[in-house]
C-alpha cells in the first residue's frame, strides 16, 4: 500500500491548461453521445422549471374550481384537472422546485458528511476508519427505504427530515467511494511532497486529497440524485413529509391513485411521468459524466 502503489496513481490536479482540454472533452461527450446530450437538455429544462416555475404556469397551482373537476386533458388544461379542479400542468411544473430542492439538499448534505468522513477514514486509517466503517455497516444492515421511513417517523414528519433521512441512507455509498479514493492517494508523491513542505494533515486532506477525488464524487452525486428523488417521492407517496395541498410529484401520484381504478388516468400519469423523466435524466447524466471522468469504467 506504499511505494508499490505510487506509480499507478495519477499526478495532482492537472495544471490550468488542462481545464480547456477537459471542457473540450466535456463538449465532445455532450454532443458526441446523443443520449447524454438529450439528458443534458432535459436537465436544463428541469432547472428552468425549478427556478421560474411559478412564473411560467397558466393557473394558480392551489386554486380550486369544482366546476371543472376531473376533466381529461384539453386545450384549456393540457394535463387535465384533478378532483378539486386544479390545473395539473401548473401543479406538475410548480412541484419541480420542491422535488429538486429535496434531492439537491440531501445530496449536498451526504456529500459533505460522507465525503469528509470517508476521506478521513481512508487517509488516517486506524480508529477513524473503524468508527466510520462500523457506522456505515450499521446503516447498510437495514433495507434503505425502510430505514428512511423509520427516521422520518421518529424525527417528525417534515420536508427537512426527508432530506436528512435521504442523506443518511446514501451515506455508506459516499463513504465507500471517498475512502477508497483517499486510501490509494495517502502516500502518493504529491501528498508526500505537501507533507514534506510542512503542511498539516487537515490541510493536506482539504487541499491535496479532496480536489483529486472531486470528479469521481461528482459522478456519484449525479447518480444518487435520481435515487434521492425516487426516495423522497416514495416517502411522500405513503404520506410522510410533504402534506397536501402542496404540489409535489409523489403526493400527486398518491392523490391520483384512487382515481386509476375508475379510469381517470391523467391525475396520476403526468406527475408520475415528470418523476420518471427527472430520474431518467439524472441516471443518464451520471453515466455520461462517468464517461468524462473515468473512461475506463464505461458500461
Amino acid at each position: 500500500m506504499t511505494a508499490l502503489d505510487t506509480p499507478a496513481v495519477e499526478a495532482a490536479v492537472p495544471p490550468a491548461t488542462g481545464l480547456s482540454a477537459t471542457l473540450r472533452h466535456a463538449r465532445h461527450v455532450v454532443t458526441g453521445n446523443p443520449i447524454t446530450g438529450f439528458s443534458f437538455t432535459l436537465f436544463i429544462l428541469l432547472l428552468i422549471c425549478a427556478l421560474f416555475g411559478p412564473f411560467l404556469v397558466p393557473y394558480d397551482p392551489l386554486a380550486t374550481n369544482t366546476a371543472v373537476a376531473l376533466k381529461p386533458p384539453s386545450l384549456h388544461h393540457l394535463m387535465g384537472t384533478d378532483q378539486l379542479g386544479r390545473d395539473l400542468l401548473s401543479r406538475v411544473i410548480v412541484a419541480t422546485r420542491l422535488d429538486m430542492a429535496v434531492a439537491i439538499f440531501s445530496v449536498a448534505l451526504v456529500f459533505v458528511l460522507g465525503g469528509i468522513s470517508g476521506i478521513a477514514a481512508g487517509y488516517f486509517g486506524g480508529w477513524t476508519d473503524r468508527i466510520v466503517g462500523r457506522l456505515s455497516d450499521t446503516i447498510m444492515a437495514f433495507p434503505l427505504f425502510v430505514l428512511a421511513m423509520g427516521i422520518v417517523a421518529a424525527l417528525g414528519n417534515t420536508v427537512t427530515n426527508i432530506i436528512i433521512a435521504t442523506a443518511i441512507i446514501n451515506y455508506p455509498l459516499y463513504v465507500r467511494i471517498a475512502r477508497a479514493e483517499a486510501n490509494v492517494r495517502r502516500n502518493a508523491g504529491f501528498v508526500q511532497a505537501a507533507r514534506l513542505s510542512g503542511n498539516g494533515e487537515i490541510r493536506i486532506l482539504l487541499t491535496q486529497i479532496l480536489p483529486n477525488i472531486l470528479p469521481i464524487m461528482m459522478v456519484q452525486m449525479s447518480l444518487t440524485m435520481g435515487y434521492a428523488i425516487l426516495n423522497a417521492a416514495g416517502l411522500s407517496f405513503i404520506g410522510l413529509g410533504v402534506r397536501p395541498p402542496t404540489p409535489e410529484w409523489g403526493i400527486m401520484v398518491a392523490e391520483g391513485a384512487a382515481f386509476i381504478v375508475s379510469g381517470e388516468w391523467w391525475i396520476a400519469l403526468f406527475p408520475g411521468l415528470a418523476l420518471m423523466l427527472a430520474v431518467f435524466c439524472f441516471n443518464l447524466l451520471g453515466d455520461g459524466l462517468r464517461d468524462i471522468v473515468d473512461p475506463q469504467r464505461r458500461t
Binding site: 437495514f142 433495507p143 416514495g234 418523476l275
Partner: protein, 337 residues
Amino acid sequence: MRSIVLKRLATAIPSLLGVIVVSFLLTRVLPGDTASYFAGPAATPEAIAEVRKQLGLDKGLPEQFARYAVDLVHGNLGNSLTTGQPVVTEIANRLPASGELTLLGLLIALSTAVPLGILAAVHEGSWIDHLCRVIVTTGVSLPVFFTGLLLVYIFYFQLGWSPAPLGRLDVFYTAPPQVTGFYLIDSLIARDFETFRAAFAQLILPAATLAIFSLAPLARITRGSMLAVMGSDIVRTARASGLTSKTVILTYGFRNAMLPVVTTLGMVFSFLLGANVLVEKVFAWPGIGSYAVEALIASDYAPVQGFVLAMAILYVALNLMIDLLYGVIDPRVRLEA
C-alpha cells in the same frame, strides 16, 4: 463447511447489534414525548408522569435499553395502539403475504434479467445491447408506485384481464388451509387449482411491478460480469477446443459469471424490501409493509419499530444465506475461507 457457517454467523452479530441499537434509538432519544402521547391530549401533568413511570421512561437510557433488550429476547415488541394486538403476532401473520410477493417478484426479475444480460453481453454493441440498456434504465427510473398504478390501469381498467387490485384473494374465494402461508403453495397442496389461479391473478401484477424495478442492477451486473468472463482464457480455450457456442456461453461463461450476480442479489433484496412497502400500498396487499404504513399514519410507534427491526433481521439473514451460497457456486471461495 460447518465452521464456515459458524464463522459467518459470528460476523453477522455486530450488524444485528447495530440494528437493535438503532431501532431502540429511533424511538427513545429522538424528540417527541412518548409519555404525553400515550396519556392522550387531555392528560394532567401528574397523569403524564404516571405513564412515564409505567413505561419506564423515567429511568436512564442504559437501563431503558436493557429493558428493551430483555423484551426482545422474550419476543415482545410491544402492542399496537390502534389494534391492541401484540406487534409480534401481527407481523408473523402478515409476513407470508409479503414474502410470497417479494420472492415471486425476485423470481420474475431473475428469470428476465439474467437472459437479458447474457444476450446483451454476447451481442455487445449491437441493437440488442442498446435495447437492453434502455429497458433497464427505464425500469429503474420508474417509481414503483407509479409502475404499479400504470399496470392496474392497463390490465384492470382497460383490458379487464386482472382482478381488482384489492388484496391477496378475491372475496369469492376462501384462503387455502394454512401450511406455509404462501397461497400459491398452500392451494397446490390442497389441490384447489381454482384458488391457485385466483391467487396467482392477484399476485402477478404487484410481483411484476417489483420485478421491473429490480431488473436494472441484475441485468447490468450479469452483462458486465459475462463480458469479463467471455474475454478470459478459459472461454478462449473452450472455443478453440471446438465446443458449441451454447456450451461455451452457458457452461463456461455463465457459471463463472454467476458470483457477482449473487453478490448483487443482496442489494436487490434491500431494494425489494423497500419497494414492497410502496407496492403493498398500491395493491392493498395485506403484508407487513402496509401494516407499517398504516401505523405510521396513525403515529403508532411500536409497529413501526417492530417492522424496521423485522426487516433488518430478515435482511441480515438473507445476506448470510447469500454468503453461504458463494461456497456452493464457487468452490474456490470455500477454500479461501
